[in-house]
């Protein structure tokens, strides 16, 4: 403390450092003494001090940063919705790698679990060495940042590779690349890792001709941060209103619905990508997420044309089925079908097979039959290629092939390669019978493995048939599931117990896996609404299950059931819980109590809205609820802005249901302005 208090403490100013010194500062090649001298000079010399600050401000994002002790970032390669990709230098192994930095993912409440899952999956992937999967060298990071260190591939994303190649690659070449990528995806699935965001941009074609899939599991992480995987375009704006995430154009319907993605969702996205790459256009057109979602739900992408064999399109179409259970049971099954469809473009006239035995005996012909026949032959269940596969002595690859191969003496129709039932009259009954037959058949076939059974149980779950699901699962004792499947099996068992009304039992099973919060979400989606103890749980469950019901066949009946379950409660529920389920808790302020009643009105009009416009009205409702919870004079401006934009996007929807819902909202708003939480009469 020798210096006296002076008004402006400045050291002696030395001569300004040369450009070279500053350049070396940016390069990181300045010695400690030189750096200290530069800083000391910058402290005294305003111009150089400012130069330093400006250099820091105009630093290309991330350049020069260290990740841990080992990786130093070199230059940004590209910016995606999930983070920035850099080339980086691995100082330990002296090689260049690619690093994806995932920033601020800890923002969301559920982030921890997803981070944990992501890390687990990344570690699994790191253990996977597959020529068609982008190698993950390392993952790491501290809050709030994660990074993934990957193999650096010199090449192009599939989308660019196709668009820039002249002439456009032949369909055979594209199909071949996709078959390779599919094998990579399948290898990951076998580890229990789901990609969640398969799209041509995530498929890399290396200069060497190798093709790889990368960016596993990142979409799941982005979910935690409320981010989307594709930052551009209006479609992704919309995804933020619900729990819907991913890249809308490639998402499976269940993902559009905010449900977690699984291997079958990957299959769907894979098929969208393949279709787009082959045809040069997407199977489900649309400019916004909702338009795309509507097209996806409508199903039936156009087949044929663009010089692509119809057989291939048929296989793709099955992968694009709305109901996950009707897609191919696994990537391997899809790939086998694709490979067969691609191998032959037969133009020979085909002999009609008269009996099942003949069909099964002539493997090659069967596929041709399947490809060219318009109307199914009586007596043949035609996932033809798969039944042929089974008959050739090899074990069937999946539950679906069980269905296909089980002899069905009474069959009057079948499921075509597109998965479209030919006869809808008693589809459910036929399906149940087919399942029963398949199970019976499986009884005598020890080679049926656990994975098939699990696929099968998934199908029952999708049909909300808890009893059938449990029967299937019980065929393998609890402790006999292979390690890779045991979590999945336990989870499925828990959800099916919930479906049957054994809510508490299911919850206990899940808590061990997912923690209390995760278990609760599953509970809401699966337990019978009436069995839930509190009104807020019931409201949340209605919303969750009504979402699912949109895909189930008997929509109207289910809605009625849900509405009855909701009951007509007039007491104000502890509304925070409801809002949590709407992803809106962060916007909830002190007004919650006042909102309690209006919220119930909203929940009811929510149900009403379902009748009319499906996704569109639903999204409007969602955003409105977020908006409401933010309060009229503020709340989160971003949320507010978003909900207004969503609202504007659907303003053209002059649907009766939407109008009713808007009237209802207006009333709620009016009531709130008056300060009185009056419950308006909806009817």
């Amino acid at each position: 403390m020798t210096s006296s208090a002076s008004k402006s403490p400045r050291p002696e100013v030395t001569a300004c450092p040369s450009d070279k010194i500053f350049t070396r500062l940016l390069e990181g090649t300045l010695g400690d003494a030189e750096l200290t001298a530069l800083q000391a000079h910058g402290d005294g010399c305003p111009a150089c001090g400012r130069t330093l600050s400006e250099l820091a401000r105009t630093m290309p994002p991330g350049q020069g940063d260290w990740l841990g002790e080992r990786f130093q970032l070199l230059e940004p390669l590209g910016i995606g919705g999930m983070g920035v990709v850099y080339t980086a230098f691995d100082t330990k192994l002296q090689r260049k790698v690619a690093v994806k930095r995932l920033r601020e993912l800890a923002a969301a409440a559920s982030a921890d679990k997803r981070r944990a899952r992501f890390l687990r999956e990344a570690q699994l992937l790191a253990s996977l060495s597959h020529p068609n999967v982008l190698t993950v060298h390392d993952v790491g990071g501290v809050d709030p940042e994660l990074y993934v260190v990957m193999e650096l591939v010199d090449g192009w994303p599939m989308s660019r590779w196709i668009s820039e190649a002249t002439p456009r690659p032949d369909w055979r070449r594209i199909l071949d690349l996709y078959l390779q990528v599919g094998r990579g995806l399948s290898a990951a699935h076998q580890l229990g890792v789901v990609h969640r965001d398969v799209k041509p941009e995530n498929i890399l074609v290396a200069r060497t001709g190798r093709v790889l899939i990368g960016d596993f599991g990142l979409a799941g992480l982005a979910e935690a941060a409320g981010a989307t995987s594709d930052p551009s375009g209006p479609a992704t704006e919309l995804t933020q209103t619900g729990a819907v995430l991913g890249t809308p154009a490639y998402m499976a319907p269940e993902q559009h619905d905010g449900k977690p993605a699984d291997a079958l969702s990957d299959q769907f996205s894979f098929c969208v990508s393949l279709y787009e790459s082959l045809h040069g256009r997407r199977p489900f057109p649309g400019r916004t997420a909702a338009e795309i979602a509507a097209a996806v739900r409508a199903g039936h992408p156009p087949t044929g044309g663009d010089g692509i064999p119809r057989e291939i399109d048929r296989v793709i179409a099955r992968g694009l089925t709305v109901q996950p259970a009707r897609r191919y049971p696994s990537m391997d099954a899809l790939l086998a079908a694709l490979a067969r469809a691609g191998e032959r473009r037969p133009l020979k006239p085909v002999l009609a097979a008269g009996a099942l035995g003949v069909v099964l005996a002539t493997t090659a012909t069967v596929a041709i039959v399947g490809a060219h026949r318009r109307t199914p032959l009586p007596g043949i269940v035609s996932s033809v290629s798969e039944s042929a596969h089974a008959s050739a002595g090899a074990p069937p690859t999946s539950a679906h092939s069980i269905v296909a191969t089980a002899p069905d003496p009474e069959a009057t129709g079948g499921v075509s390669a597109t998965g479209r039932p030919h006869d809808r009259r008693d589809a459910a009954a036929r399906k149940a019978a087919a399942h029963a037959r398949a199970l019976a058949w499986a009884q005598h076939h020890p080679e049926i493995d656990a994975r098939m059974l699990l696929d099968f149980a998934d199908g029952s779950h999708a049909d909300r048939d808890g009893a059938a699901c449990l029967t299937t699962l019980n065929r393998v004792p609890l402790d006999a599931w292979p390690a890779a499947l045991s979590d999945r099996a336990l989870r499925r068992r828990a959800t099916c117990e919930m479906l049957r009304g054994n809510c508490e039992k299911g919850r206990r099973m899940l808590e061990a896996l997912d923690g209390a919060t995760g278990a609760r979400g599953t509970q809401l989606a699966n337990c019978p609404v009436a069995s839930l103890p509190t009104i807020e749980d019931r409201i949340a469950a209605v919303s969750a299950q009504a979402d699912e019901a949109r895909y189930a066949g008997n929509k109207a009946a289910r809605r009625k059931e849900l509405k009855q379950a909701l009951g007509r409660q007039t007491t104000a529920p502890p509304i925070q819980a409801c809002f949590r389920s709407w992803n809106a808790s962060r916007a909830c302020g002190r007004r919650l109590a006042a909102l309690a009643r209006s919220y119930q009105v909203l929940a009811e009009s929510f149900l009403a809205a379902r009748d009319c416009a499906e996704g569109a009205a639903l999204d409007v409702m969602r955003s409105q609820i977020s908006y409401q919870s933010a309060g009229p004079e503020g709340g989160d401006p971003a949320l507010r802005c978003r909900s207004e934009r969503v609202f504007a996007a659907y303003r053209s929807c002059a649907d009766a249901g939407e109008a009713a819902e808007r009237r209802c909202l207006a009333r709620v708003q009016a009531a709130r302005r008056d300060g009185a939480p009056v419950l308006p009469d909806v009817r």
Binding site: M1, S3, S4, A5, S6, K7, S8, P9, P11, D19, K20, F22, T23, R24, L25, L26, E27, G28, T29, L35, T36, Q39, A40, G42, D43, G44, P46, A47, G49, R50, T51, L52, S53, E54, L55, A56, R57, T58, M59, G62, Q63, G64, D65, W66, V142
Partner: protein, 307 residues
Amino acid sequence: MIANVMDGARARFWAALGGARRNDLGRLADWEARLSAALDEAARAGGREWIARDEFAAELAARLDEDDEADVARWWDHLRAGDLYLACACVRGVGGALDRFEQVYGDEIARIARRFERPGLATDDLIQLLRAKLFTTPGGAESPGARPRIATYTGQGFLQNWVRVTATRTFIDCCRTHDEPPEVPMRSDLVAVLPEPKGDPELALLKREHVTHFKASFAEAVAALDSADRLLLKQHLVERLTIDQLGALYHLHRASAARRIAKARDALLVATRIALARRLGVPPERVASVLELVASRLEASIERLLA
């Protein structure tokens, strides 16, 4: 044939080199391979016709001679031959090179220039000023010894970084001569920035009475800070640079940058406290309450005192 060209280039390089450097090179076993690699890199980086291979070899020798880097191996390590080739061609006014420069660094320069834009000084004007400085000889072509700024790029480190440095420095210069905003004057009355203590008249009195002492103590503490730390605090608190930006600039991990800033801030507080206790002669706990009072506004105070 190729060997001949290489020999020609090597000979030119050797001939252009001073005696001291020849000795240094003699101890570096692979200098010929390094030279050859550098010349190849240069040829790949730009048009072959920009500068003849052996002429560029002579340029390289000149840079090595001028450089103050004692370790020749390190000089080679940090040499960006491709970048230097471009810069040398720009000095010679090669059209293709000037176009390439614009193409590669134009966006970067514009990005920096936009930060300095102000009424009467448009981005385009700034860029034009920089171009003139980089590529034209000050005082006209006849003035002896004068060279365009780009000739001072030594090839040590990426040209991109050098461009960022020169652009930033040039623009700061332009702004200063143009209309430097007056420095934020230090508030004579610090009372204004200190919060009014509620319900504690004694503290309020203390604050009013001792504000002069506080100011003096604080200034003393600021002066006593290590100059690197002072700069860091100033950049963080006054210039509002983020931890990430500072970390990137000084090649510190963000955790280290945050630690250093926190350390500097603590040092500042402690020094202020000691000085204040000495000046006031009040019991330390009294000093603590005064400081607590101001701690919430410390950043505001620092802004004013450091500016």
